[in-house]
Amino acid sequence: MTGLSRRTFGKLLLGTAAVTAPMSFVRNGWAAGKEIQIGIWGGAQGEFVKKQIIPAFEKDFDCKVTPEEGFTLANVGKMRATKDNPKFSVMFIDDVAIPICKEEGLIAELPKADMPALANLYPRFGFDGWGTAVAISVAGLFYNTSVTPPASYAELWDSKYAGKLKLVSPKNTPSVFFLIVAAAVKSGKPLPEAQYLVDDAFDKVAELKPNILNLFDNGPQAANEVAQGQADIGLLELSKYIYPATAKGAPVNMSFPKEGSFAGNNCQVLVKGGPNQDLAVAFMNRMIEPSVQKPLSEFALTAPPVAGVEFSDETLKYLAYPVEEMDARGLFTPDWGFINSKRSEWTEKLNGIFAV
């Protein structure tokens, strides 16, 4: 017998545990036992978030994060349906939806003081404090490697492509990119100016119809069909859906014509009034930390929205990174505030042109 009382032994045990516990566990004690629900994407990004990022975050914060895979429109719909009693705390959506969510009061402004990782965020991906990008894709053409892709979007209207093109469905966001391209080809103006001229470009859109084999709404499936030679070229799609097939050795690749290409910004927003906002903010901060961004980018083949991440040359083949490279490629983010006000009207016109 050592003469050590049970109470003293207990204190000693607790003290030892506190000293030897990982510092992160002690530092994040406030989060212990808390739970949040987040809406994420499917696809490679969703897979990585679910299998890698969330388990590590749960371990560090001793909390529970329940992900729900979806896509932008569905995620916005879920925020709307649960607005009076929010179920989600963080939602992943594309940049196109941020102005809508802000206007409808679905999201909250980010508390910058609680997000130290914002220091590395490129300003263009900050959305005035109403969200951050977490992954940047490039939208362009994808083609079967047995054909030479056009140097200019204007060539797509050539009759040599009759029945050889796949066009993105009007219900997908990249269909807006296509309309801007049509306006740029018709007007000869650069993409940033052409986006305001789409209303006058639907005759040009209709002229492309003989060259369109069919419409697609699933990027990976369309990439597979182009790889099999069902069509020569697909327009337009985000690199995150095409490059995984390229990296696997499928005969499909992306090309970015001289007029420029589009940024597909996958973002995260803080749901207004969602449960456990402090934990939600900590999760959002984790998402843009370089230690998370590097493996996420390498897995999903998307570019980080933060500075200072190092990649191998092999990975950089698929990414427009850093920000100087985005600018060199003419990576363009449309004026979503303007486009959202026109989107339904444009979608209706597109449906009218391409309906069987």
Binding site: G42, E47, T66, G70, K87, N218, Q228, Y241, A245, A250
Partner: protein, 264 residues
């Protein structure tokens, strides 16, 4: 059995079978392709994609979850649907037609609308019980199938048999068990099969109500297609076809009800 069937009928049935069955063969062939992407006709031969799917814990969990969900939903739909069908067909109830219309309305209203409405309702109630939400949502959708199938059986009951049994002194529970049940059993079984398959295949309701811990197979398939379009997707589709086939064979063997009778 088929001696009296006209050649024209045989030809039409063969064409219909070809149209229905031929598309099911395509994913099975694509699933054995030894290429990193889906290709038809298949190139090479491998069963590795099946191994990959079966070893994938996410796929397994989703499959088992869908089985559990469909089983619970089918049980509840039968518990609610059989008495409801019996009541609506055997008795003239005030407002019976309105009740029937209400119950069958999920067949008319787009499921995606029902899903978002349920999400809104559960949110207002403050419910976080995802499994229960899915069970309720799927039951709403499956109930019409049970009621339609079971109602048809009740309508076709030969009342002379029940009358004869009662006249001969059989108490009501014996009449129910030995006269009525054998006549409605095919309808109940058909309703159960419909209910199970509708729940197992449902996407629009689950899309709104599911979460990462309660993730049915159709949602999983959608996410896999978004991740990469490789032959593992064809392998999952093939496994689902084999599963449906197995289900039909088991039912045929265990319950001894011919497909022809189910279809009647």
């Amino acid at each position: 059995m088929t001696e009296g069937v006209s050649p024209l009928l045989k030809f039409v049935v063969a064409i219909i079978l070809l149209i229905v069955v031929a598309p099911l063969v395509v994913p099975i062939l694509m699933s054995i392709s030894d290429t990193p992407f889906i290709v038809f006709p298949p190139q090479g031969f491998t069963l590795d994609w099946y191994g990959e799917v079966l070893a994938n814990s996410e796929a397994r969990d989703s499959f088992l979850f869908s089985l559990k969900l469909a089983a619970v939903v089918t049980l509840i739909a039968l518990l609610l649907g059989v008495p409801c069908a019996a009541g609506l067909t055997r008795y003239r109830l005030p407002g019976g037609d309105a009740v029937l219309g209400l119950i069958l309305s999920p067949l008319i209203v787009p499921l995606i609308v029902i899903g978002v409405a349920l999400l809104q309702l559960f949110s207002l109630l403050g419910s976080r019980a995802t499994f229960m939400q899915l069970v309720i949502g799927h039951t709403v959708v499956c109930l019409p199938y049970v009621i339609r199938a079971v109602s048809a059986s009740f309508v076709l009951i030969d009342s002379r048999l029940t009358d004869a049994a009662a006249v001969l002194g059989a108490p009501p529970h014996v009449v129910a068990a030995r006269v009525i049940w054998p006549q409605v059993r095919p309808g109940v079984l058909a309703g159960a099969i419909f209910s199970f398959i509708v729940s197992f295949d449902d996407y629009p309701i689950s899309m709104w109500l599911a979460d990462g811990n309660n993730f049915p197979v159709p949602l999983y398939l959608y996410t896999v297609i978004e991740r990469s379009f490789d032959p593992s997707i064809a392998a999952i589709a093939s496994l689902m076809i084999f599963f449906a086939l197995l289900l039909v064979i088991v039912i045929e063997k265990v319950f001894g009800i011919s497909l022809a009778r189910l279809a009647s």
